[in-house]
């Protein structure tokens, strides 16, 4: 399609505006972390790095980061195992209910978090509480893993669909047994997909707030919960500004890693 000169210019302007809309809010969060004032009024009256050192010393924020990391690692581990198992079943086998299985995997992320949250919450309190297991980090991991499975599944299944089973068959013809073929042939093929899926699962868990609200016990505060609890407290505003700015900066790392992996995983959708 030969676009006219004016259409090109219009598209350029529209795209420029679009990128501005995407980036201005994030830039504002960064700028605001240097705001000496506690209010968010624009423009800021000056610059200071004082709040960055205050935030660094903040016990609550540090604990929350640590809890989030632990929950993320736990959920990612479970999701990697379960997501890979389903991906192999769906990609390498034909069976009754295959479509339903892929549908059920997507469901936890497609349904509103609040529904998943109260469902798990009432299940935990009716089944686990009598067994002496209260809500805590463990239940957070279980809740997060449930919706993280899909990202591992999607990455691995996409990779498996692109690589036929003939490599494994060739390995077996050469005398390798099922496990040998998996270790030497299949695993190297799906390794980067597993890494990308794990990365996405961790990021998803690290960011989750709704399911966490309903599966965390009283003492368990992840970073999003901490931010949410402190966002409306004027006293805490400067620390929240800095934590938010740090999160914006850190979000560049996973995108860099995902991009460094093979090109097919980087543009694959988030779920």
């Amino acid at each position: 399609m030969q676009l006219s000169r004016s259409a090109r210019i219009a598209l350029r302007i529209a795209a420029g505006l679009g990128f501005a809309v995407i980036y201005v809010p994030l830039a504002l969060v960064l700028v605001n972390s240097f705001n000496p004032d506690r209010s968010a009024s624009w423009p800021p009256p000056g610059w200071t790095v004082h709040w960055w050192s205050v935030a660094w010393e903040n016990e609550g924020a540090r604990n929350a980061v640590w809890v989030s990391v632990k929950a993320g690692l736990g959920a990612t581990a479970v999701a990697l195992v379960l997501g890979t198992l389903i991906a192999f079943a769906v990609a390498r086998h034909r069976f009754f209910g295959r479509g339903t299985v892929s549908f059920v995997v997507v469901l936890p992320i497609a349904l509103p978090g609040i529904v998943t949250g109260i469902a798990l919450n009432s299940a935990f309190s009716t089944v686990l509480k009598p067994l002496g297991v209260g809500l805590g980090l463990f239940t957070v991991v279980v809740g997060h893993a449930t919706f993280c499975i899909v990202v591992v599944f999607n990455n691995v299944v996409a990779r498996l669909r692109r690589t036929s089973g003939s490599y494994e068959e060739a390995a077996m013809d050469l005398g390798a047994h099922t496990f040998r073929a998996f270790v030497d042939v299949t695993f190297p093929m799906v390794r980067s997909a597993l890494f990308a899926g794990g990365l996405l699962a961790f990021a998803l868990s690290f960011d989750e707030i709704v399911v966490t609200t309903f599966t965390a016990g009283a003492g368990v505060e992840t970073l999003p919960i901490w931010i949410f609890n402190n966002m409306t407290r004027p006293q805490q505003a400067p620390v929240v500004n800095v934590v938010a700015a740090v999160l914006v900066l850190l979000s560049v790392i996973p995108i860099y890693l995902a991009q460094r992996l093979s090109s097919d995983t980087a543009t694959e959708s988030r779920i």
Partner: protein
């Protein structure tokens, strides 16, 4: 084939491998047992119990759940004006967010996939992806900063004698659109990028002007991707209550109603929760028919 060799005298690992190789059903059931226990029993089981509890009631004095089957909650849901209003408002919000996302995403994706120099395209995709990775709460917080009194929105509109929208329904729609925008841009970008250039040339050769090429060639090929993106923008908006709490002022959506009912009236919360679930499952099924889900 190793499976045809006699099994005696080999290591247990090799014997197990041979057994798994000969019995694909056994292999399949070993693959599926753990995930199906997790998703089927734990997740679907919890959901099932939740939906059954939507048919229970609550003792108004003690807030205890009474396990007697009744459809009172759903009756109340459909007849109480407040509930109906909130449900319609939530649907309206989800649809407007989806529409806004599509309108904003299309020129952006068209630019990154077709207009920008090929060398720049991967970088531009990264530029779209990066905000996708930024934290949900941080993005909402950013809009709280922009829309707060004396914030960036007020400052920008002041020279025109206007002020920002403040916290309320428009703020919630703007923020939700911002949150889910990348989910719409990416599938559209992918579809536009994969579209063969020859098709566009052929259309032009046959005498179609750009407008007609756009309507009859580009749009039909991109619509399934818009549908795929809309699954996220629609369902994520329909269930949201955190954003509404932070920038929505006094606005109430279904999520907020569910949240405020959990403590005092769990069966009512469950009944309210079925509304977005039913809507989203219907939406997913409809989208599956268009083939949009396979491109997710």
């Amino acid at each position: 084939m190793s499976a045809s060799l006699p099994a005696a005298g080999r290591s247990p690992v090799r014997r197990l491998a041979g057994l798994l190789h000969r019995r694909p059903r056994l292999r399949l059931s070993l693959l599926l047992t753990a995930p199906l226990l997790w998703l089927g029993v734990l997740y679907l089981g919890s959901l099932g119990v939740l939906f059954v509890s939507a048919f229970w009631t609550t003792d108004t004095f003690t807030s205890q759940v009474v396990r007697v089957w009744s459809t009172d909650n759903f009756h109340e849901l459909l007849t109480t004006p407040v509930f109906r209003q909130v449900i319609l408002r939530s649907l309206g919000v989800a649809l407007s967010v989806t529409l806004l996302c599509a309108v904003i995403a299309f020129p952006l994706a068209f630019f990154t996939a077709r207009v920008a120099r090929p060398r720049w395209r991967p970088l531009l995709v990264v530029a779209i992806l990066t905000p996708l990775w930024a934290s949900y709460l941080v993005k909402v917080y950013a809009w709280r900063l922009i829309l707060s009194q004396g914030g960036l929105a007020d400052w920008m509109l002041e020279p025109f004698g206007l002020s920002g929208p403040g916290f309320g329904l428009p703020a919630a729609i703007i923020t939700l659109t911002y949150l889910w925008l990348p989910y719409m841009i990416l599938p559209i970008h992918t579809a536009l990028e994969q579209m063969p250039a020859g098709l566009l040339d052929a259309s032009a050769d046959l005498g179609a002007r750009p407008g007609r090429t756009f309507r009859t060639v580009v749009l039909p090929m991109v619509l399934p991707s818009v549908a795929a993106g809309s699954v996220f923008t629609f369902s994520l908006s329909l269930g949201d209550y955190i954003t509404v709490q932070i920038v929505g002022g006094k606005t109430q959506l279904i999520g907020n109603l569910v949240y405020s009912n959990i403590e005092l009236n769990l069966p009512m919360a469950a009944a309210l929760g079925t509304v977005p679930v039913v809507v989203i499952v219907l939406y997913l099924l409809a989208m599956r028919r268009t083939g949009a889900l396979s491109s997710l």
